[in-house]
């Protein structure tokens, strides 16, 4: 019995929304980053779901690329976090406001 693709997609949307809420709510840079990862994964889930429903593999290829991208993003993002932490000694996103207005 096939999984209703709508449910898959709703799950994806839910995860995406949770990711968005998390990014907006959390102040820890790393956790915010994690939430962004969650958003990416939500997109991935949607792609997989579509791929399955449409019977086309392209979606999976895209997911493959996205995973690679996520890895790359993680590398750079965490490097940035480290650099920032070195100079500012904080991971609080709300203290990142040297520049404003």
């Amino acid at each position: 019995m096939p999984i209703p693709s709508l449910h898959v997609l709703i799950l994806s949307a839910l995860l995406f929304a949770i990711g968005v809420i998390g990014v907006l709510l959390r102040r820890n840079l790393v956790v915010m980053f994690l939430c962004v990862e969650l958003m990416l994964n939500a997109a991935n889930l949607a792609l997989i779901g579509f791929s399955q429903r449409l019977g086309l593999l392209d979606g999976q290829v895209v997911v493959f690329f996205v995973i690679v991208l996520a890895a790359a993003e993680a590398a750079v993002g965490l490097a940035l976090v480290i650099a920032l932490y070195r100079s500012r000694r904080t991971l609080d996103a709300d203290q990142l406001n040297l520049m404003k207005y």
């Binding site: 995406f16 990416l40 790359a72 940035l80 500012r88």
Partner: protein, 484 residues
């Protein structure tokens, strides 16, 4: 023709090869490393430009299984990016030395970013465009945080990264939706899919939403309101040459990608996004220009100005006409000259550690450093859109396109915005020339940076007075894109 038509991606290959070469060669070159890095970068960029020029134009847009397309539009943008790269490589060398930044990495990243931009504009498939965008983005995140001992640079990189990653996710979701609705990510395929619907309101909501989210993703890149919020902070904190690059390269690439999406992915005769873009254009202009008024920091000022210019450029998209889009293409070129010129001056004046970035630090620069002040004035005047500069020609055609579409309200708003912009650009000129000079700020002008500055200002005037060739090319590029 072979689908794996290598010349189609030769420019990118050259760029990447050059990038890798720089990284590899740098440790072996010792004290020549700096010069060699820049030279290699320039060579790579020049090579890519040459490759673009030498590649035969083919009408086929299914190269690499429909991943890239070879058209005039792409060629034009790639040449533009090469030019940006060259100007950056030349202009930044002295800055890198002064700030003791790793130049090899800088140049390599610059080249890779350029390659990424190239993919963005030549991509005929959302996947390709997305990958290009990510290459560009990641390189730019790094560049923004390049002065890693400087908390401002850290912050800039971090903010850019978060905003970028967030909007990438949205973009990606949009791609997913398009894929789901149309069954493909290929522009041509989606366009054909859409062409099947005679009435637009029958379009699957999911597809429309997907396109909307993709537009959001690129709007972020071009700093269109309300996705512009990152721009001032990031521009202010990033190393000045990087700011210069960000303000022209990714912006142009983002616009080019938007053009492709709005006029190749979406059938060009269905301008469904007009109102949305119109609102965005108006907002962007207002936010950019009004926000710039109270600025005291020149980098931040230019950041707001770049937001405003995104607004002007959006007019081209709103009109969805050959004139408007061609004007936009022309404006890319003009804009890159004026912004790089201006930022090159800012980079020089800012001094070690970028301490002199307040507008008041330009006091008395006017007659003391004419090689800096006059080109900067030319750039600012051009940004303000005053005639005899390339900026004017660009604006002129953008406004013309809007009038052609009878978007009078938009034009009125745009001209009022121009007026506001004149005010804050002039303020810099006022400080430079008209206020009593403060402490002497003797700025040493390295040859390469000086050449970039002078070349930019001269070209601004040249293209302001004799814009024909560039206009012709951009016009053709757009006609080619729209398939007319």
């Amino acid at each position: 023709m072979n689908e794996l038509f290598i010349p189609a991606i030769l420019p990118e290959i050259i760029l990447c090869a050059a990038g890798v070469l720089i990284m590899v060669a740098e440790p072996f070159l010792g004290r020549y490393g700096r010069a060699a890095g820049a030279a290699l970068a320039v060579a790579g960029l020049a090579g890519s430009a040459a490759a673009v020029l030498l590649t035969p134009r083919t009408p086929v847009d299914l190269l690499f299984h429909g991943m890239v397309t070879l058209d005039l539009f792409g060629a034009y943008c790639r040449l533009l990016f090469a030019a940006i790269g060259v100007l950056m490589a030349l202009g930044a060398a002295a800055y890198l030395r002064r700030e003791e930044l790793p130049h090899g990495e800088f140049h390599a990243l610059l080249l890779f970013a350029t390659a990424g931009m190239n993919f963005m504009v030549t991509g005929a498939d959302l996947v390709m465009t997305f990958v290009g965008l990510e290459i560009l983005s990641i390189a730019t995140y790094v560049l923004a945080g390049f002065r890693r001992r400087d908390p401002r640079s850290n912050e800039s990189g971090m903010k850019y990264f978060f905003m970028g990653a967030f909007s990438s996710a949205i973009l990606l979701y949009g791609i997913a939706l398009i894929y789901g609705a149309a069954g493909s990510t290929n522009y041509g395929a989606v366009r054909r899919f859409m062409a099947g619907f005679s009435n637009l309101s029958e379009l699957p909501l999911m597809l429309a939403l997907g396109i909307g989210l993709v537009v959001v993703g690129f709007s972020f890149k071009v700093a269109a309101a309300p996705f512009h919020v990152w721009t001032p902070d990031v521009y202010e904190g990033a190393p000045t040459p990087v700011t210069a690059f960000m303000s022209v390269g990714p912006k142009a690439a983002g616009f080019a990608a938007l053009v492709r999406i709005l006029f190749q992915l979406v059938p060009p005769d269905q301008p469904v996004w007009t109102q949305l873009l119109l609102v965005s254009a108006v907002l962007t202009m207002l936010v950019g220009n009004l926000g710039a008024i109270p600025q005291r920091n020149i980098k931040r000022l230019l950041a707001y100005s770049s937001i405003a210019h995104a607004g002007y450029l959006l007019i081209g998209l709103v009109t969805a006409s050959a004139t408007g889009l061609a004007a936009m293409l022309f404006y890319f070129a003009a804009y890159l000259l004026m912004n790089i010129g201006a930022f090159a001056v800012v980079a020089l004046v800012s001094g070690p550690g970028e301490t002199r970035v307040a507008i008041d630090d330009y006091r008395g620069l006017g007659f003391r450093q004419p090689v800096l002040s006059f080109p900067l004035t030319v750039c600012l005047v051009s940004l303000a859109g005053i005639p005899a500069t390339a900026g004017f020609i660009g604006k002129f055609f953008l406004f013309s396109a809007a009038v052609e579409r009878e978007l009078y309200t938009l034009v009125i708003i745009a001209i009022l915005n121009s007026l506001v912009s004149v005010y804050y650009y002039l303020r810099v000129v006022v400080v430079m020339f008209m206020q009593e000079p403060g402490e002497p700020a003797a700025v040493e002008i390295p040859a390469a940076a000086g050449a970039v500055i002078v070349a930019c200002s001269l070209l601004i005037i040249v293209f302001g007075l004799f814009p024909s060739s560039l206009l012709q090319v951009s016009g053709n590029a757009i006609l080619n894109l729209l398939g007319r």
